[in-house]
Amino acid sequence: MPSLPQRMDPAQLSRLGTLPIKARVIVQGALTGMHRASLHGSSVEFAEHKEYTPGDELRHVDWKAYAKVDRYYVKQYEQESQLTIYLVLDGSASMGFSGGGIPKLEYAGLSLAALAYLGIQQQDKVGLLASGDPAVETIVPPRGRSTHLHDLLSVMDTVMAKGGTGDESPAAALRRIAELTRRRRALIVLASDLFDPEDETLAALALLRAQKHDVSVLHVLDPHETGFPYDGLTQFESLENQHRMLVNPVAIKREYLDRMDAFLTRCRTTLAAAGVDYHFTTTDRPLEATLLELLVARSRLGPARRAV
């Protein structure tokens, strides 16, 4: 992995202007100094050379190659059509948790905003679904126009500003995507903490993957959730329901961490088995790093699934 440039702390970033600006800052931060060849940034990507045969479009003839080897080669491109990207933001109450840094929801939102920014820039159609509050259905249909970015980010801003409500898992939103995309393959990026007691989300992701969609998951957790750094008698209250418990965190830390480890392992193995691109991050990690990891991972997926 290339050495990362100076990143902005997510907390600092969250204080930075409007969401479009933030998205651009993240993208720029992520891409600054990167080798351009590895990430072409075009939706019509070069795949391989093929010897010219009559019938091939002349505009695809690689003249530079002809000059070198004195033979006609035709450039072939992976995907020539516009890519549809669905960004799914888990807006449930649990995403509003913050152990001191920025809330998971904001981190997830910023990550997705950066992706949206990148996608729109590449003329991909980018749509947004936010889950969490079952009463409100937040859907921004995929569009590829540059003005669409503004609409999309403003909706995302609203969701983030609400700060996480409801206890609906992203599974419903994912199923909705399955309906919306029909047979058109799409890139679906879910940013969530995957706190779903019934594992519906994992099942829905596997389903989408089974429908040949390209699925990525950005698993966002707060460092307090992974490290459980509490001590002293503490009253823990649920963000999604009325549950609460008074406990000495030191006494249960080991068991909690074991359970958290088991949960992460389960997410990773389940999604890997389903072929879902899984990325785990915590909110104290620079967004650029997270974005870059996401992009690098996608670039390694191979031409068939490379989108952004």
Binding site: Q235, E237, I252, Y256
Partner: protein, 707 residues
């Protein structure tokens, strides 16, 4: 239950502290909105109960700890009836009187009582503290007593450890008196006598209190295992000749006493010369004494044998056995001098005497008789020595002069010398005796001079003869020669005396004593000592000339007893009974060395200065009951057992009665000069236990907090 510092109970308000901490702690808990609560809840399901339990336990432990602090500071105590003695630690004078009589060997739960008592007394010693000046006084009779109090508790403990039941009865009163005497010398204000005894009445003499009101305080250690301590003991054993069973026949009379309030049935066994020869059963009511007679014969060839009677064991085994030494009589060698021999046998002066001394003319009659005439008595003269007619007076124990005319002076002198050397002589008058001639020559042998005889029936008609006859009265019933007779003794009293010699002034003999008188007040038998011998004067004839005593049943025993008395072999068939602790005199004879071997290794050796020139030696180490054998080495160096000197030692049966003493039998507990009267209740302070509990609680609290 009470408190020495009840105001400290206010500290119980401190109970509010842990409760408040508990409640505030709940409220002060940080509130954290947490997304992954499901994980916590899952965790909690498993640990919540444990955590809740821990919290509550902590609360309880802290509350109790706070309460314990307050309670301990309030110094709680409880009172209970005093069981043990009240012992105050510190400088004081104390005498521990401990019962080491043979009754202390009473088995309680298989162990001697004394073992338990010494354990308790050792504890007592510890409680008194090192500053106490203490002495230990033993109650057994004749025990050595300490002369002063000591702080050397180590030595006292050693003394206690070495203590064993003695074989003597308890003399508690004497021991208490000694204790009081020891305490008198002490300068301490607090003076206490601790009595560790079986509280048996037998060792106490209430009429002879060891101290008065100002005496030391008396604390009795409660060591009597039970109010009633049943005990059965053989309290006496004697052996008597049993002619019915032959010459070796012996009747053993054992007296058994039941010192309990329950009837008992027990088995007795008689052992003679280490062989059990008879067994019997005996039923005793509560508190009853009963005798049991065993008939046995001594082993063939033995003139003496050691025997014991044992009863089936009880809690005090030492008094279940008693020893006796049964000896056959030694033969008495009698020289009969016939002053009026007749050819018609039954007219002979000595016809009845010979018949009485050798009934049936049997060898085993116990008497060896030689009869001579008055003339033949000349054989005792020194000039007759070496001639066939010579008579060795030394080979006789008794000489009987029956109706012998007055002897020449020189012959009387020989006889008198022989009597002085230990011989015995019986002089009986008769028609051949001339009082005047007797007065001239015979006085050295007589306790009193003779006068003319009187005939009480002189001139009486044959019908009146009987009524005028004299009878024996007023005899010394305690004297050995009358020992076989009862007080009335018709076998003697019925005899009629028609003629008797009257007596004149007393002679130079010592210890003259009239043993029997006739109805008219005249002396019938007079005894006197002559040197180490004895002389007996009978004032009537030994045949039927002057009386009809010889045909009365009393004649035979009277004559036999007289011979034994004169021969100094009248001692009881049983050898004298020695009690544990008494010294025993043993004739040294001409032995070079004399060794006494008693039971349990007790013994002594007398030789050299301890023996030379002594006629008797005294053996004092009769510390255990049982048989003591004597082994002698004579001048030739030959060592052999001296069976005739063996002796037995028995327990003093007084100590077998373990009946509990009445409270009044004990001396009053004095003030101890400065002490406080004993309190019947005992205060037990509880704060030590509370403090210990507090420590444990703090430990538990620490462990709970750590978890």
């Amino acid at each position: 239950m009470g408190f020495l510092a009840p105001f400290m109970l206010a500290g119980l308000l401190g109970l509010a502290v842990p409760i408040a901490i508990h409640l505030i702690g709940r409220r002060r808990a940080k509130v954290v909105k947490f997304a992954a609560l499901d994980f916590l809840l899952a965790t909690k399901r498993r640990t919540a109960r444990r955590l809740r339990l821990r919290e509550r336990l902590l609360l309880i432990v802290r509350v109790i700890a706070c309460a314990a602090v307050a309670l301990a500071l309030a110094k709680p105590f409880t009172s209970c009836e005093r069981k043990g003695p009240q012992v105050t630690r510190g400088p004081q004078a104390a005498v521990i009187v401990i019962d080491d009589s043979f009754a202390a060997g009473y088995l309680v739960d298989g162990k001697p009582w004394l073992t338990r008592a010494t354990t308790d007394v050792r504890k007592l010693l510890q409680q008194l503290g090192p500053e106490a000046e203490v002495a230990i006084v033993r109650t057994s009779e004749g025990a050595d007593h300490p002369t002063e109090l000591t702080r050397d508790h180590l030595r006292l403990r050693d003394q206690l450890l070495a203590l064993e039941p003695s074989s003597r009865p308890a003399d508690t009163t004497r021991a208490l008196a000694k204790a009081a005497q020891l305490l008198t010398a002490s300068s301490h204000l607090r003076k206490t006598v601790y009595l560790a005894s079986l509280q048996a009445r037998s060792g106490l003499r209430p009429d002879d209190p060891p101290w008065g009101e100002d005496g030391p305080a008396l604390v009795q250690l409660e060591l009597r295992p039970a109010r009633m301590m049943p005990n059965v003991a053989v309290t006496s054993l004697r052996a008597d000749a049993d002619p019915g069973a032959g010459t070796r026949g012996v009747a053993f009379d054992a007296e058994v006493a039941n010192f309990s309030d329950q009837p008992v049935k027990l088995e007795l066994s008689l052992t003679v010369a280490d062989r059990v020869v008879a067994r019997g059963q005996l039923e005793l009511a509560a508190g009853e004494r009963k005798s049991k007679r065993f008939l046995a014969t001594l082993p063939a060839g033995a003139r003496a044998a050691d025997a014991n009677v044992a009863i089936s064991g009880d809690a005090l085994p030492i008094d279940d056995k008693r020893w006796v030494r049964a000896s056959l009589r030694d033969q008495v060698r009698v020289l009969l001098v016939d002053g009026d021999p007749r050819t018609v046998r039954h007219d002979d002066e000595l016809f009845y005497v010979e018949a009485a001394l050798r009934p049936g003319d049997r060898e085993d009659s116990g008497t060896q008789v030689r009869t001579i005439t008055a003339e033949e008595l000349a054989g005792i003269d020194p000039k007759a020595k070496g001639t066939p007619a010579a008579i060795e007076l030394e080979s006789f124990d008794v000489v009987v002069l029956a109706n012998v005319p007055a002897l020449p002076v020189e012959r009387v002198a020989v006889l008198a010398q022989w009597v002085r050397a230990g011989g015995g002589i019986l002089v009986a008058p008769g028609d051949q005796v001339d009082p005047a001639a007797y007065d001239r020559t015979m006085l050295p042998l007589l306790p009193q001079s003779l006068r003319d005889p009187i005939d009480t029936t002189w001139g009486a008609s044959p019908e009146d003869k009987d009524s005028r006859a004299l009878h024996l009265v007023k005899w010394e019933a305690d004297h050995p020669i009358f020992a076989p007779f009862s007080k009335a003794a018709p076998e003697l009293a019925d005899a009629r005396f028609f003629k008797i010699s009257l007596l004149g002034p007393t002679t130079s003999t010592a210890d003259r004593k009239v043993l029997a008188r006739f109805t008219n007040g005249a002396a019938a038998i007079v005894e006197a000592s002559l040197g180490s011998g004895r002389t007996l004067l009978y004032t009537s004839t030994l045949d039927r000339d002057w009386n009809d005593l010889p045909i009365h049943p009393g004649f035979l025993p009277l004559l036999q007893q007289s011979m034994r008395h004169l021969a100094r072999k009248h001692a009881a068939f049983s050898d004298p009974v020695h009690i544990v602790g008494n010294s025993v005199a043993l004739p040294a004879g001409d032995l070079k060395k004399l060794e006494v071997r008693g039971p349990e290794g007790l013994g002594a050796v007398f030789e050299g200065d301890r023996l030379a020139g002594r006629s008797t030696v005294r053996f004092g180490r009769t510390d255990r009951p049982g048989l003591y054998k004597v082994v002698g080495t004579d001048q030739t160096g030959a060592t052999h057992e001296r069976d005739e000197l063996n002796f037995v030692v028995n327990l003093d049966p007084r100590g077998s009665d373990l009946a509990q003493a009445a409270p009044g039998d004990l001396p009053v507990s004095g003030t101890g000069t400065g002490g406080t009267p004993a309190d019947s209740t005992r205060r037990i302070e509880l704060w030590h236990a509370l403090a210990a509990a507090l420590l444990l609680l703090l430990l538990a609290e620490g462990l709970l907090v750590q978890r």
